[in-house]
């Protein structure tokens, strides 16, 4: 199957996210798609698979114009999209997942025998060995991914789109995935492979396309390019531009965590400290326990043991309110789920952790809250119609700034940011970094959990790398590079 995207454009409201994109993918070819977050890669793939329509341009499949109404239609046609966050149902068994929505029936009842037979055949072909009757939720990310691939394989797979498939995989799982990809390629499946990881691109792909700010910058056979050229095209400017320079000094140790032990075996013996004005990054693979550590520090999940000290004094944090009272702010990684109340206004969201500051003689003073939030909106350049706008109607970047404003609003003594720029556009990203620098400049210690390596390298004074629930090592920002971090993150040494 050959796919040709011609002059695709897409606008969300006034925001033009794709401009005149053309791309061709042939069968039996691995086509790498590179570009920073927000470059438009996922949007393009979502248009191809029918999640939403393009604003302009055409899609040709084997020379015939075609648009899919929804991802399911694309899947039936042989085009499958495996997302970063997989859509499996954790309580269903492997086989139920494989046949969800297209169960094989006999006389109106499920034909388990036939489904089992087909599942086994698909697993054999892919060289996968996973029992069919276990619940998906109990499997590793790598195994779940294999199931997703097997699922598309079961329905006439022609084109497989993978979005950052290795970001949460162990090394062994990654090489297994590569084997499967090679096998699919031989079978004539075309693969669109979205990734940031250079080694993978050069190992796997035949063709590479670089996107930036919603445009295709270049498409080339992989053998005719090199890492430097790709990076330059991806970033389009020097990396020092991208991350604002932090020139404030680091002070004394303010916040210390020692021997923190997870109650659920998620992390072990975590000790670290942050100095005033310091930006400390926590790096590591997904699932290495970074988020879990921060949740325990903030009192969301109770740790088994461990001591937390602020300004040298041990403090007790048993619930988020305790942490907030000690001046700790925590931006969670999932803003829609845990950061915001989407139906509420900017004012209501921002003032939530600082409600008590606006209570005068027992009563909540709305006017005072509005003035306060208006200031924060200006300071964080939140693009909105005002303090009363409903948060659900804001763009991702502005929503993230509302969550930040919540925590800036408590005048934090320590700020923990979990993936502060995830799903945020390039412009807002820079503004968030600037805000971090500004706060650090005022002496606030900042702990940032991030999976975005360039970001970790670009903004932090010091980097702690976690591997399988333990601290694998610590690197000073000025001595760090991607290789050092990845080595600690993947090998733990």
């Amino acid at each position: 199957m050959k796919i040709e995207l011609k002059n695709i454009s897409k606008a969300f409201g006034v925001n033009q996210v794709l401009k005149d994109i053309s791309l061709t993918v042939n069968s039996g070819e691995v086509h790498a798609l590179m570009g920073e977050n927000g470059a438009g890669k996922s949007t393009l793939m979502n248009i191809l698979t029918g999640l939403f329509p393009a604003s302009g341009g055409k899609i040709f499949i084997d020379g015939e114009e075609r648009t899919f109404q929804n991802p399911r239609e694309a899947e039936l046609f042989g085009i499958s999209f495996i997302h970063q966050e997989m859509n499996s149902w954790p309580e269903l068994t492997v086989m139920e997942n494989l046949f969800l929505g297209r169960e094989i029936k006999k006389n109106g009842l499920l034909n388990n025998k036939e489904m089992r037979k087909q599942s086994r055949a698909a697993f054999n072909e892919l060289g996968v060995n996973i029992p069919l009757n276990v619940e998906i939720g109990t499997l590793s990310v790598g195994q779940q991914q294999m199931i997703e691939i097997a699922k598309s394989f079961l329905s006439n797979l022609q084109i497989l789109i993978m979005d950052e498939p290795t970001s949460a995989l162990t090394e062994r799982e990654t090489s297994k995935l590569f084997e499967v990809i090679q096998h699919l390629k031989k079978r004539g499946v075309g693969i669109i492979y979205i990734s940031h990881r250079m080694e993978e691109i050069f190992k796997l792909s035949d063709v590479v396309t670089v996107m930036r700010d919603g445009k295709v910058i270049d498409t080339k056979p992989t053998k005719d390019t090199n890492v430097n050229e790709l990076v330059k095209k991806m970033v389009g400017r020097e990396i020092t531009d991208y991350y604002p320079h932090k020139n404030t000094p680091v002070g004394d140790v303010t916040f210390e965590v020692s021997h923190l032990e997870s109650a659920t075996n998620k992390f072990h013996d975590i000790s670290f400290s942050v100095k005033s004005g310091e930006i400390l990054a926590f790096s590591g693979l997904m699932g290495s326990g970074r988020t879990e550590v921060m949740r325990a520090v903030f009192g969301i999940d109770k740790p088994k043991s461990g001591v937390i000290k602020l300004h040298g004094k041990p403090i007790r944090i048993r619930k988020p309110l305790d942490a907030i009272r000690h001046g700790i702010g925590f931006l969670t990684e999932n803003r829609k789920d845990e950061g915001l109340i989407l139906d509420f206004s900017i004012r209501e969201n921002v003032t939530l952790p600082s409600t008590r500051n606006f209570v005068k003689n027992l009563f909540f003073n709305t006017k005072m809250a509005m003035l306060f939030v208006r200031d924060l909106i200006q300071r964080l350049t939140i693009r909105s119609t005002g303090t009363e706008q409903i948060v659900g109607n804001l763009s991702g970047g502005n929503q993230q700034k509302v969550v930040l404003a919540k925590w800036v609003g408590i005048s934090p003594k320590v700020l923990i940011l979990d993936e502060p720029t995830r799903g945020v556009d390039v412009g807002s990203k820079r503004e968030i970094y600037e805000l971090m620098n500004e706060l650090a400049g005022k002496g606030v210690p900042i702990i940032m959990v991030s999976s975005d390596l360039p970001e970790v390298l670009g903004v932090s004074d010091r980097i702690i790398v976690m591997h399988e629930g333990r601290i694998a090592g610590e690197i000073l920002g000025k001595d760090a590079n991607q290789e050092k971090i990845m080595q600690l993150a993947t090998l733990g040494e």
Binding site: D337, E338, L342, E348, K406
Partner: protein
């Protein structure tokens, strides 16, 4: 004019208010005796019991919960305090005890829901049975009338102040107090936040468990006050008092525009909702609709009201 409509808009949804007005006009056209002072005073009296309960229920529903035990709490707190009166307890003290018992029973609901992490529907369904059962055990199935004719108690449900039924005045006082609590205090903010997104609220420092216990306590307390009014009016505590009241209260809250998903709604909507239910009950009687058909009509009105609300929400989302 603009400021008036602004004020009304802030106070409640105009649609609900319009629905109430239309309903009243329709009933008056069909039987003008609806609009007599006598009947209107009677109507206010009928609205009160449901009003109290619906105010408490508003808090519960705003957090995304539900309280099915309100009718049973009403009965049990009334019966227990009536028993105390029969045993010689001074009336003011017994009245106070009634309210305390109601609050306590509500707190039990809240405790299981918050700390036991159980679904409100299940907990209050079970306590509804338990509380109602205990009422029957305590009263042996008979009304309690001994010592129930004292002035203090009688005034609560039967008295008039400035020509207005005292229980209605009591309801307005409760409304103002709860309105202020919900809309003007930090506690009120946390009630909304909890209903809007419990996880986000907790991380932002809302003490969800305490708030939950508090709102079910309020709901129990308001049920007990409704019980006092009824007991006073009948001069007896009956074991079947308040049977099915949870449905009227939930209906009033929903008619008032509060979302069963939590996080959205206002106290003022509930009072209009309670009035709509009251006008329906009273009006259908006056125009001679049989009690059998009354239920059908009330159910249909709720469906239409909520449907209108759903459509309106969808439209405001799209624009």
């Amino acid at each position: 004019m603009k400021t008036v409509s602004n004020f009304l808009n802030r106070f409640t949804s105009l649609t609900t208010l319009a629905a109430l007005a239309v309903l009243m006009v329709l009933i008056t056209v069909m039987n003008p005796s609806f609009l007599t002072t006598n009947n209107l005073l009677n109507l206010l009296l009928q609205v009160t019991a449901n009003g109290f309960i619906a105010f408490g229920m508003t808090f519960v529903i705003l957090t995304g919960g539900i309280d099915l035990s309100v009718g049973a709490i009403l009965a049990l707190s009334s019966a227990l305090s009536a028993g105390m009166i029969g045993a010689g307890m001074p009336l003011p003290l017994a009245v106070l005890m009634c309210v305390v018992i109601g609050a306590g029973l509500g707190a039990i609901n809240g405790f299981f829901i918050a700390y036991g992490k159980m679904a409100p529907f299940i907990v209050t369904l079970a306590t509804q049975m338990i509380f109602r059962g205990l009422t029957l055990v305590f009263t042996n199935g008979n009304p309690i009338t001994k010592g129930m004719d004292g002035f203090f108690l009688a005034y609560i449900g039967q008295g008039y102040l400035f020509g207005i039924p005292f229980p209605f005045i009591l309801m307005i006082i409760a409304f103002v107090a709860l309105y202020v609590l919900l809309h003007k205090t930090a506690f009120g903010k946390s009630v909304y936040a909890l209903g809007g997104n419990e996880k986000a609220a907790y991380i932002a420092g809302v003490q969800s468990n305490r708030v939950k216990v508090a709102i079910y306590t309020i709901s129990g307390l308001m049920s007990a006050i409704a019980g006092l009014v009824i007991t006073s009016r009948l001069s007896s505590a009956t074991p079947q008092a308040g049977n099915g009241y949870e449905m009227f209260a939930i209906a009033a809250v929903v008619l008032g525009g509060t979302s069963l998903m939590g996080g959205k709604g206002r106290m003022s909507g509930t009072i209009i909702g309670a009035l709509i239910i009251g006008v329906l009950n009273n009006g259908l009687n006056i125009i001679g609709v049989s009690t059998f058909w009354q239920q059908v009509v009330e159910g249909a009105v709720i469906i239409v009201a909520v449907l209108v609300d759903v459509i309106r929400n969808k439209r405001s989302l799209q624009s």
